[in-house]
């Protein structure tokens, strides 16, 4: 399901959660147990991080026997990266304009 953009950014803003997501991306898939084995946090903590990522639409889960296997949903991440890149590019453009205006003496002296 979809989630507000804010929830998505919040999900990405935690360093441990970011590592959980990166590991899933590298490995293709994972469970709370396998992920906890590669991170300095407990399985319970990983379960919580996975739940946040799931709510933000960044991962999807599928039950297999006693385990829940998680995979990354790249389309959601793509959209986020594009939004952030666009905002950053816009600031680069604005700062370049300010620089040009300041250096060409268009602004009055303070």
């Amino acid at each position: 399901m979809s989630a507000p953009a804010g929830e998505l950014f919040a999900a990405l803003a935690d360093p441990t959660r970011w590592r959980v997501l990166s590991l899933l991306a590298e490995r293709g898939e994972g469970t709370a147990t396998t992920l906890a084995g590669e991170l300095p946090v407990s399985r319970v903590a990983v379960v919580k991080h996975l739940a946040v990522l799931d709510r933000a639409g960044l991962v999807e889960s599928r039950r297999q026997g006693r385990e829940v296997r998680y995979t990354v949903r790249p389309e959601r991440l793509n959209a986020t990266a594009r939004q952030l890149a666009a905002i950053a590019n816009e600031w680069d453009r604005r700062l370049a304009t300010i620089k040009r205006m300041a250096e060409s003496g268009e602004a009055p002296r303070g």
Partner: protein, 148 residues
Amino acid sequence: MQIERETLIAAPVERVWALLTEAQHVGRWFSDAGAEIDLRPGGTMVLRWAEHGTGRARIVDVEPHRRFSYRWAPIPEHWGEDPDERNSTLVEFTLDPEGDGTRLKVVESGFEALEGSDEQRRSSFTGNTEGWETQLGNVKRYAETVAV
């Protein structure tokens, strides 16, 4: 999660400050069809775009020649509302003298609290699924600038 950008300008801080805070200039580099600025904490900044309409920002901090910050809604859908934590991000400028010039830094933060527009929610599902590892790298670059 925040975005940080900076540039070195060969002009004194007083001049850069004027560009950042005077309506005649802001109406050119930020919006493109003029601006009105009530330069004080809590003051309103009106920004006019020829094609997108009129947006509003709420000034947070004014420390002459040093620091200037405001909240503004990056999503035009929210421009009719008063800028607050749910509909706007915080933009903070810092000016530092460096030699004869000015180092100008801008930080935009608060994306995690933003409520997305319907359009954004839809666009989240139109992305292609190829090359996403590159995109992951892009997100990572920005995520790593997060202050925790």
